[in-house]
């Protein structure tokens, strides 16, 4: 079951574990400043002609924001929404401008601090994922978790 979860490093990160080829893997979603909200799934509006990882729009408290599906960028299987599915609303910087975006998460575990001390270098081989989208890999509760570079992965 692919999952996304939230956590935080020195820069406070939210993490999203992903089951991939039988393993539970987590993505830590780097959020720099703060998570605005973690909300239940809401009706989406599909945007024709948009890139696959930014397929739709959602209304979060009167603000229309893009809903990003980072699983597309990392080639993870796309699963139907479940009871665990959440949308993490966060702010990232695109060309220096703050942009609010919602991120589909299969599951939000917790908001936590992770230390950069545990950081592992990103291996160049043996990776399914595009290295330029990865900020660093770290350990969380004895699991390897990937902290994506959201600015690059979404922009």
């Amino acid at each position: 079951m692919p999952q996304i979860h939230a956590g935080a490093g020195q820069t406070r990160d939210a993490a999203a574990p992903q089951a991939f080829e039988g393993l539970t893997q987590a993505l830590m979603i780097s959020i720099g400043g703060e998570i605005f909200a973690i909300v239940d799934p809401v009706p989406t509006t599909r945007v024709a002609g948009a890139r696959a990882h930014l397929p739709s729009l959602i209304n979060v408290r009167g603000n229309i924001i893009p809903l990003a599906d980072i699983r597309v960028r990392f080639g993870m299987p796309i699963t139907e929404a479940s009871a665990d599915t959440r949308i993490v609303v966060l702010e990232i910087k695109i060309d220096g401008d703050p942009v609010t975006v919602g991120l589909i998460s299969d599951k939000v575990y917790e908001v936590t601090e992770v230390s950069r001390a545990q950081t592992q270098p990103t291996p160049r081989i043996g990776m399914h994922w595009r290295a330029e989208f990865i900020r660093f890999i770290t350990k969380w509760k004895d699991e390897f978790v990937i902290v994506p570079d959201l600015e690059r992965a979404l922009g």
């Binding site: 599909r46 024709a48 002609g49 209304n59 990003a68 942009v99 975006v101 922009g155």
Partner: protein, 664 residues
Amino acid sequence: MTELDPTETFRLEVADLLEGLEAALLDLGQRPDDRELIDTAFRALHTIKGSGAMFGFDRVAAFTHDFETAFDLIRKGKIDAHREIVTVALSAKDYIQMLIEDPDGADPVIGEAIVSDLSRYVNGPSRSPALAEPSPVERRETLYTIRVAFDPDVLRNGTNPLHLLDDLRALGTCEVEAIIDDVPTLDELDTSDCLLKWSVRLSTDHGVADIEDVFMFIRDEMKLEITPETEPLAVSKVVETAALASVAPIRKAAPEAASTEKADPSRRGDEKAATVRVQAERLDELMDRVGELVIAQARLSELAHSGTDLAIKSIAEEIERLASGLRDSTMGVRMVPMGSLFGRFRRLVHDLSRDLGKPVEFVTIGEDTELDKTMIERLADPLVHLIRNAIDHGVENPDRRAVSGKSPTGRIELAARYVGAQVLVTVKDDGAGLDAARIRAKAEEQGLIAPGAPCGEQETYQLLFAPGFSTAAVVSALSGRGVGMDVVKRTIEAMRGSIELSTVPGEGTTVTLRLPLTLAIIEGLLIRVGDARYIIPLSAVEECVAFNPSDDQKSRGRSFLNIRGNLVPFIKLRDLFDAEGEPAEHPRNIIISIGESHVGLVVDQIIGSHQTVIKSLSKLHSDVAMFSGVTILGDGSAALILDVAQLVSIAQSRAETQRIAEAA
């Protein structure tokens, strides 16, 4: 922020005054004899000097004083306001602006140079001696009885009547007598009321107008009677006395008649009372709030109409009416006449025409066309660029114009007019027109198109909008650096507008900008395609017709419909959007107009009209071309707003690709 810093108020006021001054000076360049313009400029200077001193801008006050002194000679008709003077006066105006905005950066040397230039022109060769030397009759001293009665409030407004009396004394020999009839007993006296009146006997060689000028700034807060005595103080012949008696009343009458139609101080006072300065951000905030209200109201209406409670329905309708009224007034408040923008370009044209040695006549049309203030602000830079281009590249040198049998003075026309719910802004020059061959050669050189590739005339002109394109053989300081037309196009398109070029060789080029009236709220047509809802801007919609699926079959291979004898191509939005959900049994065809052409958009359902509060798309979706924005519907979901022009061009290029694929 509710209270403005007085210094800030001064800056704002002076900004207005300087703008007015510049406009008057530029007009004066065209009509040197227009008294009204000279007076306007003079009044602006006088006010800047006065309030500059009041707010501690001493350098401004001192410089403006010198400027004013020089200008006074023009005003008194001693010298002509010829072009050189106007040019120096304009630089003096710039210097005042500099003194206020960046006092440390304003080099006193510049100021001195300007003043010396001014005084050189002013004291230089004057007009014909007959006029320069006032006739003996005018020089003769006249005795006036002046009765001055101020409104009781003038003291509270900061006027000091004694200074005004001093100004009168400066005009000539003066006997001032206070009239104390209205002053009550001491226990009833409010010391901040001005209850004193004055009767002044003034013997002067100045005219009635000069005496009135003393009170120029509080003319609407006082009563002033000026009666010339038939008996002059100076010993003179009886004949001259008679002449004076007949001259004086006429001179008195003139400024009065003028005051009804000219922007004289009393009328300016009225205008001030009728307008309020509001910070731009507050207007934006107001618009945002109204937007939220319209969305909330849409939700209320939807809820009310889904129930059966009549009382709630009627309240919902009432609120709908109020919200739409509020929306209209808010948008009205934000509307600014184009004239406020056009005024700025007159200076630009003046300076460019001087720098490039190309005499240019600048004509503006439709200054009262109104546009949302945000749009006006965003339009400024693109228009500067277009006007620069028109003068630099469009209008030829006087020699070349002479060869083509044109008047040596070029003509740039800046016009704005309403067309439906759009505003058309055109920049037109009477230059040589675009040279398609040269544009093409340049584009090939820069690798924008393949050499020899077929390219229609309009397509060639579109190359001008390609990033980095420049045809100027010689790169001048003004244009031809390749930064430009692409930015202009992007800015206009970001405002949901479009830009068109047309040219007639030898006769000139016209650039037309089509702009929506507002950026904030539009009337939209809510439609359904598949399981999603969209908004089509109502301004683009011509008509809605039934779409018979058999039409589709009949038109096999070509997506055209016969609408009352006209061939109208259509686009099936279901296909374009890869829509999900069952197709409708009775689809509709919405005929939209794009420029001069018509296109049908086939949709599954027309839901109805919708007050559309436009929210911009996220930066992450900046690559999405088919939609110009998004809005929130009554049920809280988001609906995309179609960018019809982009959508049609995308559909066209897709059809093109398909055709090529099929042909292969």
